[in-house]
Symmetry: D2
Amino acid sequence: MTDERPVIGDYRWHRPFPTRWHDNDVFGHLNNTIYYAAMDTTVTSWLLGQAGYGMTEVDGDPAVVVSSSCRYVESGAFPDTLVVGLRADRVGTTSIAWGLGLFRQSDERLLAVGTFVHVFVDRATRRPKPVPDAIRERVGRELTADG
Amino acid sequence: MTDERPVIGDYRWHRPFPTRWHDNDVFGHLNNTIYYAAMDTTVTSWLLGQAGYGMTEVDGDPAVVVSSSCRYVESGAFPDTLVVGLRADRVGTTSIAWGLGLFRQSDERLLAVGTFVHVFVDRATRRPKPVPDAIRERVGRELTADG
Amino acid sequence: MTDERPVIGDYRWHRPFPTRWHDNDVFGHLNNTIYYAAMDTTVTSWLLGQAGYGMTEVDGDPAVVVSSSCRYVESGAFPDTLVVGLRADRVGTTSIAWGLGLFRQSDERLLAVGTFVHVFVDRATRRPKPVPDAIRERVGRELTADG
Amino acid sequence: MTDERPVIGDYRWHRPFPTRWHDNDVFGHLNNTIYYAAMDTTVTSWLLGQAGYGMTEVDGDPAVVVSSSCRYVESGAFPDTLVVGLRADRVGTTSIAWGLGLFRQSDERLLAVGTFVHVFVDRATRRPKPVPDAIRERVGRELTADG
């Protein structure tokens, strides 16, 4: 992971992520796991709500997370609301690599930079299958730099 | 706990509580523990942000939860946003009994009714101490039926 | 809820519940919601593992939590392991009222007392249905005072 | 992150991490964030309990997570207990890079491989400070390949 310091405009889709009291740990800051909850919720929100990958697909072929990472730049804390920026860094045959930036809403300061890689799999065999066309097309239009 | 079915207007203060992807459990609904996270965050938000009971008081005398309860009326699910209504059902010498109603924002349907009881304690001795005057006064003005 | 102070022997089934680092909140104690995670996990463990109410039933008729409560007696904290005691306080036609005691494993001190009420429902209609015979029989034998 | 498939014996310290009912998400598997809770708890347990970096240090100079990552190999699910293996992959002047392997206890199959990087900082200035000697010495003895 590079030292890149993205700004909020480097992401094409944004979603607020309000924090909860117990997101803070003993040190009074968001626990490191919370940034992953923010990324998980953001990617899933886009898939469910924006790309026509509806709740019913939960019973269809799922997208499985095969890797994730986070670089922590600055501490956030309840009652901050975060804004999570989402983009697609790479769309492969069976996978999408998401890039995420987590900012504090009040001052747009960068708190963390993260990645998520989803592989689309067949529900029964658990083997990779091509990214559904509807998602590929929507990602290309809405979440890539040249969309 | 009674069978009461409050409406959103029965509460004097409200706070949105957006859900997260992993608030849903295997059944596709908010896990029962999430309603407590919503209540915990709402009461704490009011104490921290509305009543001048600032973040610094975390190092001062805390309010300790001595009991809580929830009656589940209808299932919510991500991506619902909840609206949590807060009122003070009783203000005692050293305690406050909060009443909470959890509604789905989109249709204001009641999902759950809950209670939280806080006792204010001395940080060092952990013994009950009177409800701070500033809080008592603000609760009376903002969160009680005849406020 | 009464002021009862049960001891560990007042429960007929027990399950350890190790804590996690981020179960602690800013005050350095288990957040109040964690006790519900402990109760939820304990009741579900018994249903899934002990009563032949297998994982497959997740796709069958579920048991829905209709109410829960907790009285907090003493603070626990990571790295404590809790021991959760379970008993059935009442078995009705369509519901079971569970009684739970949460103890610190190292000294068996009571940390909290709780309740959970499950109603068994038909998956399709969401209407109450009788407690399955296998569960009723097993509860009677393993989790009630006169079992 | 490489494609390495470590075995449990590749780690010098191990800690069980029992799962909870609501660690499972809609797909019936541990949500991806849970692996980070397991890693966070394991590293912190070692620091607090094994290395003499006691709870009091919470009020002293903390170790701050600056990055983390996880590669998911196979799905776990409640009621699995995980075993988390810990080693120090690199000890720098002010930082420790931890390597973690997450296995299912029952069959020792690898579920995930992860990393955590801690930087030790001065509480007041938030600037990096040298890894405390006691921790450096203990890491070298207990958690490195040539310890």
